[in-house]
């Protein structure tokens, strides 16, 4: 048994050291493409670290969003950066003022270290509190109970942040990701095989979130992964769906959340205080709609500009 513990500590030390090294390389690498690859590797090892800390929910989210989708978003951003004309690129290089983010990061790191150091060494935490009230939450997975019942407004605000990010990207007015001429048979087949399976996995993660690691954000990012794969293979949202239907889908998640918050405020007297008997159904409904909205929002972020800009561009070119 002692050898096993020793092996595990050795693995943990190696993992921690690899994380620090990858983080430093990702920040320090002059080649942006390499930096993104290092960042994705960092995300995957980070997910492994969360598994070692026995936090499988966070590990799932980190692997799906932190490593997978953020990597895809960064790659899409890099492709745009490389497509820029030289003087555009110059202004983009001058803009960030390298030292400002570093100073901000150092400030945050100092603050965080201070907070961690001032924590009481032996804290009971809220685990016991959550366990006692789990019965009235409507779900069996404590993480889902906290995210969607006890601290539901945190999740509500997270969804609003995601929507705001997309609005920010759209308000820049750029064109969406260019359509590749031909994806080639391999990518095409891969997308056709994986997209239905990914949708199935998203539904599974959504359902399993009630009693085991999983939930709306993980399911939503898997859904977004399916959309990203289809977008890379040249698929585009039908023009008829890019106006109202797309907007409605994006707003549906935060919308139903706000509706529930207002409804519970009026009926129960407290924000997002579900009646225990209906809590399970309400949470599942909320998560199902949220999954769809999160998936579509993340995919739209990957696409960049609003899908309608693509058609406008084409029309303008045809007119010229």
């Amino acid at each position: 048994m002692a050898t096993l513990t020793l092996l595990q500590s050795a693995f943990d030390i190696l993992l921690g050291a690899a994380l620090l090294w990858l983080a430093w390389r990702a920040l320090n690498c002059p080649d942006l493409f390499k930096a993104i690859v290092l960042f994705v590797a960092f995300g995957l090892l980070m997910a492994l670290a969360w598994v070692r800390l026995e936090a499988p929910d966070v590990a799932l989210a980190e692997a799906a969003i932190g490593a997978g989708l953020t990597g895809a978003l960064l790659m899409a951003a890099l492709a745009r950066l490389r497509a820029m004309t030289p003087d555009e690129e110059d202004s983009a290089k001058r803009l960030p003022l390298r030292w400002l983010p570093l100073a901000a990061l150092l400030l945050v790191a100092t603050g965080l270290s201070y907070v961690v150091l001032t924590l009481p060494p032996e804290a009971a935490g809220l685990g016991a509190e959550v366990a006692t009230h789990l019965n009235s939450s409507g779900v069996d997975n404590p993480v889902t109970a906290v995210l969607l019942n006890f601290r539901g407004y945190d999740t509500l605000l997270e969804m609003v942040v995601l929507l705001l990010a997309l609005l920010g990207v759209w308000s820049l007015g750029g064109p969406p990701l260019r359509r590749k001429a031909a994806p080639g048979p391999v990518l095409d087949t891969l997308a056709r095989l994986l997209a239905p399976l990914l949708i199935l996995v998203a539904a599974y993660l959504l359902w399993v979130g009630g009693h085991a690691p999983g939930g709306a954000f993980q399911a939503g990012s898997v859904l977004a992964a399916a959309a990203v794969l289809l977008l890379l293979a040249g698929w585009r949202l039908p023009v008829a769906l890019t106006a109202l239907p797309l907007r409605l889908t994006l707003v549906a998640g935060p919308g139903i959340f706000v509706a529930l918050a207002v409804g519970t405020l009026l009926l129960e007297g407290q924000l997002l205080q579900y009646p225990p008997a209906q809590a399970g159904v309400l949470i599942l409904l909320l998560e199902a709609v949220a999954t769809l909205s999160i998936g579509v929002t993340l995919a739209a972020l990957f696409l960049g500009g609003h899908p309608q800009n693509d058609n406008n561009d084409q029309n303008n070119k045809e007119q010229r």
């Binding site: 080639g184 391999v186 990518l187 087949t189 891969l190 095989l193 994986l194 399976l197």
Partner: protein
């Protein structure tokens, strides 16, 4: 330990050896094409051995199914992605390594 445990352990160690060989190949091979060759061996065979070893220890058939699904997905993704990387490299004019 039962004979099944020994078999599972042997399969897991064999799988780990394939991963080790794949990693050495990734670090030591001369160009992108040969490195892809080394990596796919680790993913396809190494993971296959690991999945078989773990399936022998699995508690239910549902777990065995999930393990096989993971292997199948990695096979599919590994084969497709290494094709895409290799064809991308060829299009950019990276010549395959010659002695």
């Amino acid at each position: 330990m039962t004979p099944t445990d020994y078999l599972a352990a042997t399969l897991l160690v064999a799988g780990a050896l394939f991963f080790l060989a794949g990693t050495v190949g990734l670090l030591r091979f001369p160009d992108v094409y040969t490195r892809l060759h080394a990596l796919t061996k680790a993913d396809n065979v190494g993971l296959g051995l690991m999945v078989t070893g773990l399936a022998l220890q699995a508690e239910s058939w549902a777990v065995v199914g999930k393990l096989l699904l993971i292997w199948w997905l990695v096979l599919l993704a590994g084969a497709s992605v290494s094709y895409l990387i290799a064809s991308g490299a060829l299009r950019r004019g990276i010549r395959p390594w010659r002695r």
